[in-house]
Symmetry: C2
Subunit: 133 residues, 2 copies
Amino acid sequence: MRPLFHPSIDDVTVEGILHALSDPVRASIYARLAGLDCAATCTALQQAGDRTIPKSSLSQHFRVLREAGLVRSERAGVEMHNTTRCAEIEQRFPGLIPAILSAHRVQAAGAPSPRSRVRRTATSAAKKKAKGS
Amino acid sequence: MRPLFHPSIDDVTVEGILHALSDPVRASIYARLAGLDCAATCTALQQAGDRTIPKSSLSQHFRVLREAGLVRSERAGVEMHNTTRCAEIEQRFPGLIPAILSAHRVQAAGAPSPRSRVRRTATSAAKKKAKGS
DNA sequence: TGCCGTAGTTCAAGATATATGAACTATGGA
DNA sequence: TCCATAGTTCATATATCTTGAACTACGGCA
């Protein structure tokens, strides 16, 4: 197992951050991690809404977050301690992470049903409807 | 040609916005469009940095931006007038777009070479290096 | 009206990325 | 040493992205 790669803060890109957080599962993981003031293991964040993510997928998601520079993962015995790199990112891109987390909260608050599992656009259903009419 | 689809502002998702702006070409298009206070045609935004985007790609990029709710496209004669939907999005997700645009400016300002064409993470090169050593 | 040019869209196919079960690695404890 | 736990890596099926080629829509001109 090669040692986990963490980019230097100077190599962190906006594209990487937006891409990492454009996935609802990763956004949910990151939001929960950011809400904590301590480290969390991967398995502690395995629930996304109403379903459990397979651990291989979870590992990939963490890899994306890590390589985007959003989280830091450190082995602690048999498990992994994940923490956000909020402070560093805040310094490089002021206001970016708070704005994204806030937008996610707005959306979660406004969502009528948490199980309307929407991926990226809410438009596919609407489009089909529009096409038909 | 089916009529262009624009989602209602209530159907606009954070995931969609982040995904749309996580591509450097689309981010560049959107940033330039947001900097304007008037509509722009697609061809007017065809240059991304030092290269010209094929028009089929450009069309797809505009579709993504449109379906994410970021831009509005209206046919005006033979061409297309594109405008941002900043005001609507600002109302739904306050501060999100300004924070992203600001972060992109920070990154552009800090980039040593504009032709170090970085896609999403700046890490692939660094990772190869790390692997080798 | 028919024909041509311009501006974009759609299609198709190859390249790239994502999701996940199965196999593997690393650590700690008995 | 053997086992259990927590993650990672691999392989493969699926989905998404990129882009040249073909197509559509509109306007102008005869």
